[in-house]
Symmetry: D3
Subunit: 140 residues, 6 copies
């Protein structure tokens, strides 16, 4: 199932081939997962999406790689993206997530969803102390 045509030979387009080669080199693996095949129908969209994913998720940054994958899973669950939950859970496991960590991650996601719905149902007003951007520093 997909809403775009899957190409028989996407790498016949040199722009697609360049991205796929970079994915393989970055991940040190031959496998190209379906998201990138689906994006190959538009090389510009494929390039910009991969560039952003590579920069944030496949390059050393402030946060450690496993934390980044867990945040990614959390957003993907809340946005109900089945594909993304699958692919980023696999990525997190590849970066060392244990079953115990996975269970705790799911428990926290579930608790957050629970209190999100409670706070929205109660329409709780934001405490003044939580506001750090208010009148503090006037703009130039």
């Amino acid at each position: 199932m997909a809403t775009t045509r899957q190409l028989a030979n996407p790498e016949s387009d040199p722009r697609v081939k360049a991205v796929f080669d970079d994915i393989r080199a970055t991940r040190k693996a031959d496998f190209i997962n379906n998201l990138w095949h689906a994006l190959a129908f538009d090389p510009a969209l494929l390039e910009s999406t991969w560039a952003e994913v590579k920069r944030l998720m496949a390059t050393p940054t402030q946060l450690d790689p496993l934390t980044k994958e867990m945040v990614y899973i959390a957003v993907s669950v809340a946005n109900a993206c089945s594909y993304c939950v699958h692919s980023h859970t696999a990525a997190a496991k590849g970066k060392g997530m244990t079953d115990a960590q996975h269970a705790e991650l799911l428990a926290i996601i579930a608790l957050a969803a629970k209190t999100n719905h409670l706070a929205t149902g109660l329409q709780v007003g934001v405490d003044g102390v939580f506001d750090v951007g208010g009148a503090a520093e006037p703009r130039s």
Copy 2:
């Protein structure tokens, strides 16, 4: 603004007082934020909600405290819970989140939302290799 009456003196109810005292003791702070005041209209709901938050978020577990807050923020953003984004961003900063970590957290949440919507728009099929629960081990 709220959908439940705020009590003038919620701690006149001993069950509410017990929870509020435990929040203060756990957090080593006098301040009780609005969510708990709003939940005080139903002591049983207040007790069960605090018990779960305390067990997962205010007790040492597998994941470190800051990672847990960042996951909580991620879910709260995706669920558009204004109160929760404010309160857990404040909590994360209280646990040491720097501006650079905050910026990267927001960038990853935003990227995840972007690819969530791309994958859903493309209706990408899940790669077989991502499925770990399939036919692998038959049930007893």
Copy 3:
């Protein structure tokens, strides 16, 4: 705050006046809440929206009026519609919802959100017995 102009005298338009009069007659109250004022910028949209709300929510149907308001609140919380949570919680209270029922409603909404996120995080496959529309009866 609003994205459409509020009219100084919306009932100078006879189509708006007819809807507002019907709202007042149906609810046996003079008060017209902000949603209808905001919709008054387009009489056709105002008419079709009120007609559907009146038919389902202000007319005797299969489900009792309080159950219908609780379902409405549940959807509004999950969709993070602040205005709708406020207006339908007020409506439910007007139809007799007690504090104990309100607390239980919020607890069930919160639990549903929790298991929604767990099931999505686990990517649980649907049990065959839950499928009632499958191959059962071939179409003509």
Copy 4:
């Protein structure tokens, strides 16, 4: 998969037959897609849903037909409705959406999701100039 029984011969009910005939006449095609078959378990719900879809999506209005389908896709992606993304992407292609337009539509949906999550994570206050419905014109 479905939560309602699919009828073996839904058009034996004259109300269902009338709607199905109107769908075929409106679309100039014999095919009735699954949503309408699923709704056929309740003729009143089928009738009201089709009437609204026909009036807005299959009748000339202010916005051109392709723009309307692209807006429909955007909402369906953000609400994670797999069926709707599939059916309205097919409809948009039937109304002339090219691959380049499809790619740009997905890019804008993805960008909007990204900045939606950024703005919610930052809890940005609404600029006064964006408020057109405020104190401007007092109500009668």
Copy 5:
């Protein structure tokens, strides 16, 4: 499909067996649906989830059992949880939901979604009369 390994014999773990036995006893049925099998990879998460579901959904409370299932369905639809919509629609039918009640439930969920999106699109300000938690009763 799942993101956790399904165990070949989950009940070899006595904690899992105790929960599964309680599910069977509570429901007076042998069948254990997939959600509980998926949660069995972490006995603590399985125990706490079942305990909360049992307490709210399988024990007599303020709200009647069918109303609770309908609220659960409403949240699950809005959160786009395919598994949960299936399992709780089956549960609601098991508790007596007729086709006519099902159709009306879906119509109300759909209407709520419609007005949620209208109110959010219009950015309607909350009417003062809907605020019951405001300045009414000062805190001690």
Copy 6:
């Protein structure tokens, strides 16, 4: 309200000044709205976000400027981003959106939300004819 400190003089940072200058030049207006002020706490995030918004929304592309703003509004409503609904509705009006077009846009967003929830509640299976990416063309 905000979760990041607003700087007193953000343009004292040359990277921030360069982005703000480009926003002013691109829009031919002095006004910098709050989102960009909020993002100024992290110049890299500000730069990458503005670059993407400028490329897609402020540069001639396949889709006309007003259609792009309407798609942006649709996503923002479904994601319940209050700030984004306000800012992009203002932008759409700036690009010529009439009240009649605005009303129709809201009606289509509302209808899409309605049928999204119906299709999810019914768990309608995707029609085979909607799948364009299936087995059609084998990958190399």
